[in-house]
Symmetry: C2
Subunit: 151 residues, 2 copies
DNA sequence: CAGAATCCCTAAAGATACTG
DNA sequence: CAGTATCTTTAGGGATTCTG
């Protein structure tokens, strides 16, 4: 197990974050949580960041590395990341052209929190799947019981 | 600035995570990163978790708290969270009925990594917005320069 | 090789109306 | 109050084709 530190301070910090957030205008652009986290939520973004941790990768390399992505989505996701300064794009004017994507300094700073989330996901994947099964079972029982008895 | 610790260990850990992930079958359900992180990426999920940090909230409370969510989306997001064991749902059979959503223990454990991500987002929101402006400017120049000279 | 452009299609999200 | 049901709109994303 990792450190199961209670971190009441952390909780309070989140609570504070939320308080600030809720006080903000709905304006998506000015709310970091929505503006930044939404980006990270985009389908392939985190996966690509992970793919770039070890070393820079070329387009086709990433394309092969993520089996079920389309070139279009790959391009889009890389654009997002480039736009936000998370990755940089280097074009080598050879023939045929080679393009390399590398984690920008800003991107490197997000590895820590990202790794924390990933670790949490891995640690609790079992629990979550169990919870889903439990939920499905409860749901099935609800449907099965025709609204009559069965307490 | 916070601690800008280099954390090479953290980076390696992510790299390792990715290596494991890429070796996995595409099977979404067996990959924690995709299975769990995708959920967290769902539009309102993190926001709702944040809304539940301080104390349990009722449906209508959450509805008011998140200004631009629809009842339908709220219900769905809460279902997701309930399904995964992140929140629990308590029905008080009064008339009219009151339903309270509260962070489950499992949900509480994700506050730490989530807070880390949020902190990162807040710390770097300015940088990201700047990067976007830079990107937009560079893009505009590309369009402006009719593809001829300009080094 | 690395993309841009196009078409298509599904899933997510909003609005509205109805119900226990 | 706390939903569900239905309809509609939209945008994300996939497949394909074309280009520098």
């Amino acid at each position: 197990m990792k450190e199961t530190k209670p971190s009441p301070a952390g909780d309070l910090r989140v609570a504070e974050s939320f308080r600030r957030w809720v006080a903000m205008p709905v304006d998506q652009a000015s709310c970091p949580v929505r503006d930044v986290l939404d980006r990270l939520g985009e389908k392939w973004v985190t996966l690509l960041v992970m793919a770039l941790v070890e070393r820079p990768r070329r387009f086709s390399e990433l394309f092969r590395l993520v089996p079920d992505i389309s070139k279009r989505s790959l391009t889009q996701a890389l654009r997002s990341l480039e736009q936000d300064g998370i990755v940089t794009r280097h074009v080598f004017p050879t023939t045929p052209p080679a393009v390399e994507y590398r984690l920008a300094p800003l991107g490197a700073t997000m590895l820590e929190p990202l790794a924390a989330m990933i670790a949490w996901a891995e640690d609790n994947h079992g629990r979550i799947r169990a919870a889903r099964r439990r939920y499905a079972a409860a749901e099935a029982k609800r449907s099965g019981a025709s609204g009559s008895a069965s307490s």
